[in-house]
Symmetry: C2
Subunit: 325 residues, 2 copies
Amino acid sequence: MNFKSLYNEQKEIVDKLLTDSLSNRKPSSLYEPASFILSNPGKRLRPVLVLFSAKAAGGSFDKAYNAALSVEMLHNFTLVHDDIMDNADKRRGRPTLHVKYDLSTAILAGDVLLAVAYEYLRRDLNGTAAAVVESFTKGLVEVCEGQSLDKEFEVRRTVSLSEYMMMIQKKTAALSKMCCEMGGLLAGGNDATVTALSNYGNDLGLAFQIQDDILDILADEETLGKPVGGDLIEGKKTFLFLKALEKSSGKVREKLEAVIDNKGINPNQVEEFKNIYFDLGVIDFAEKEVETLTQSAVNSLNTLKESTEKEFLKQLAFAMLKRNN
Amino acid sequence: MNFKSLYNEQKEIVDKLLTDSLSNRKPSSLYEPASFILSNPGKRLRPVLVLFSAKAAGGSFDKAYNAALSVEMLHNFTLVHDDIMDNADKRRGRPTLHVKYDLSTAILAGDVLLAVAYEYLRRDLNGTAAAVVESFTKGLVEVCEGQSLDKEFEVRRTVSLSEYMMMIQKKTAALSKMCCEMGGLLAGGNDATVTALSNYGNDLGLAFQIQDDILDILADEETLGKPVGGDLIEGKKTFLFLKALEKSSGKVREKLEAVIDNKGINPNQVEEFKNIYFDLGVIDFAEKEVETLTQSAVNSLNTLKESTEKEFLKQLAFAMLKRNN
């Protein structure tokens, strides 16, 4: 099995379908901005999860392409609205929608992406309609809840690591979980199969988010596409930061608490805090956590029948471990 | 048949269900604002349309309550996001969400209302699942398109009356059409029944919007709950304004074009423009249009079997004609 070529083959199909999905729709004041965000150079991880989950559960890719598009649209809906809330100017080197256009356009482009997501989802509904809509909607509700908690944590002084885990469970893992569950449901997989895929997607999402927190400080600016240590500069309460706070005392703890009070650090302090993270062992701890979650994701798949797609999903999880952006 | 008591009985049930719908959900930073907007003193017209359409199509209220809640949530999702885009401070005398809380909270509260709308909708899905989701989603897409056109028209110099009609078709009528169609589908009504209800809802929505434009200038401030002539003050291109532009020439036309150039008028000019509207006969024209649409809505129901609910829907349409706020 060639993991990369299998991945890219589906990614290209999805990219093409996404490009076509909103063309010829009017008004262009609505769909042009929506197309712009959809055309960003994303990994298309979520559609890939839907497609390979469907096939791993005994179904076919063809029965799940519309659902695959729908999860990517849902994902982009969250990106557009989150970028507004986070006051983000850029995404993957391109201007965010509320910057390129304006606030109203961005809100509405996000809304219509979600609307069209349901439209595409509907096309793949069969006997399992209610369960698939339920899964999709549950993911949507959770991602809203997660984003709300994320905003709440920004203005709260203390957040525990377990609260953080609950937040990323909703904000990130709920969506990858949903993707795998939907794939399984659309393929008509039995309960055990759907649960196995669902658990895989959940742990994959958690691992992905913690890996993101690590990459923010360990990756280099060029591969990351944004300044190293951005989370610290913005004073974000990440997995690393909260674990460091938990493990620190004395002068070091004071320094970390100052990050909260000052709502961030200067870019020239990033190196110092990176060393604090290393000294406290939180980078090591986080990397172990990512490995454990990845292994747990992979183990969830054990009950599935052997297939290229099952193997693909396993390799996908390990590939996530090794990514550098 | 006592129209008012039938209406109020269902309105009270819906109010109670709406109040309960988001209680005990966490995080409260997300659901408390969403509850606040849901608790506004609305007419609950859309849920009433779903319920009576379902019963008029041979079904029962009980099978359609969740769908009824879902359309009210969808409606409130649009209110919250529209208020942001329109920079509106107040809604029915209460502060809008982005004013009472902040922009992020309002965007997200809107998003989650839509998400929970699908959650409730799902509960009423039966054999017609795909058709109901399709109807709901089509309504959602159209309302996004309509709002986008509305924003587009604000900055466009010229808008024709037929363009305006297409806009309100999407922004307002698509939702009432959807409500009636969903009721019919959930009740298992045949194609003719569903189409009849759908046409009824569509024409009712068009009439409702034009009536809104008329009331803005004819009603008094107290019953309206906002300043008379607000549309003119804000320079909105309403049915009345566009028709006046179409019928005017010379000095009067110049005055109307100045409203576009100046993006509105002073409150002390409202009376003058009201007289222009009367002189040009556009109030009369608009009132006839509302009557024609109302009659067309009512006629659509002729093919339905006689029932209290069919009679209710007819009276509802005529009651809309007579409303003063």
